[in-house]
Subunit: 259 residues, 2 copies
């Protein structure tokens, strides 16, 4: 695949949580964020799921922060003892964690409207690394933050999604990749030579092939991606024409739609 | 969290595929494998999703192969030009890729029973790194392989699952972590002090807390994990008793079951 390293901002996702690695909870944030970033022209380079271990968080954040333009973390910023993301990321960048007056005011106001006490554990959610910028939380008040190029979000998918939507206007965008799917009534092994030829004949696109199986039926979804939409469309038409010449059905479906 | 590094084998998962990073396909293999490994007493240390780039595959496999007892990869072993996992992993360990007679025979037989041609692309799936051990594929014949401590599986979930089930008898097992969930009718912030106390009073367990929200209701699932089931149960009972003393409902649900 041709990665548009220069043209488009690059990103990494770090999901922090023992509950994902134990299999107890199925991650939903990587797939959702991947779609959002793709739609903004940001190239997701890598995603990692790591445990609630401070040194692992520090090492992973520093490694990916150096490699990518943007890093997004998910998980570990709640009020309990196992929420260690804030301290770990502050430590990674040599920052103190301090009570943030604006975060404290927002949380205090939020809890005044509930029958929940704004106790010491909840006050901890106002502790933010020095020099960080807050990320607004329209659902449950506890903010995320941006430190260097690291964007720190919670693990609960509904809250992460609401916060990312507010954050996204502040992120750099890129050229959105054109992605065209050609559904082919051929096995992946039958189509391989066609794809290799089309790939060789079209610069700057990448072709992925994804076999699928249903009872009594099978086929291959061929996905052509590229920053130049015209070239991607030409390649998609070339794949469809070659498959049809081979005697099998093929049709181009809307970009991103894979039936 | 206390990671049983000595007692239990450790593992990492590497999902290889641009289609996951683009958001087009949602990964289902990490969550499924995480559950299987947990049930076998194998500690999953990390999972990564990486692109179809040969050098990234090589670097990631070597890094995680050195850190963990077992590595599982998913994706990139099909018949098309974008299937580069086999060559990348062979390169990582300095091995040649050669046509494997047994794999070729199995594939040839499989395609004789279909109306599909055993063409050059499909023959490529019999190319296996020297010194690798085959992993049987009961669904679609194309084998995976084990090279050093790396277990190479396909990306299609149904095939990966069928192959892992055959493979699992060959894997080392460990002590299965006891995991007990206490459902608490309290917000995470109200329960934080209780959890910190229970954590401090019980050695060798880890306590995770996972807030949940439904229309008109909320609560926290507290998950106690430990290799010593008796200690984990004592800790779970302590959490439930403290929550009830606080005036809120709490009940212990079956291990792993989180309602």
């Amino acid at each position: 695949m041709t990665h548009p390293k220069k043209l488009n901002p690059t990103a990494a996702i770090i999901v922090i949580g023992d509950e994902i690695l134990s299999g107890r909870t199925k991650d939903k944030n990587i797939g959702w964020l991947a779609e959002q970033l793709g739609a903004m022209g940001i190239t997701l380079r890598e995603a990692r799921i790591i445990p609630d271990i401070k040194q692992v968080i520090i090492d992973t954040v520093l490694e990916l922060s150096a490699q990518c333009d943007l890093v997004f973390t998910s998980g570990g910023i709640g009020p309990t003892h196992d929420d260690i993301t804030t301290v770990a990321i502050a430590t990674a960048f040599g920052k103190q964690v301090v009570r943030h007056p604006e975060a404290e005011a927002v949380l205090q106001k939020h809890y005044q409207n509930t029958d929940l006490e704004f106790n010491a554990a909840r006050q901890k959610m106002a502790d933010i690394p020095m020099d960080a910028t807050l990320i607004d939380n329209p659902l449950s008040a506890a903010p995320g933050f941006i430190l260097e190029n690291v964007h720190v979000l919670p693990g609960v998918p509904s809250i992460l999604q609401a916060m990312f939507k507010g954050l996204s206007a502040r992120l750099p965008g890129g050229v959105v990749m054109t992605r065209i799917t050609v559904q082919c009534a051929m096995g992946e092994g039958s189509i391989a030579a066609i794809l290799a030829d089309v790939q060789a004949a079209h610069d700057g696109i990448s072709i992925g092939s994804y076999p699928w199986f249903k009872p009594g039926n099978f086929g291959t979804a061929v996905v052509i991606s590229g920053l130049d939409g015209a070239v991607a469309r030409k390649a998609a038409e070339a794949v469809a024409a070659s498959v049809k010449a081979f005697g099998a059905a093929a049709f181009i479906v809307a970009a991103g739609d894979t039936a």
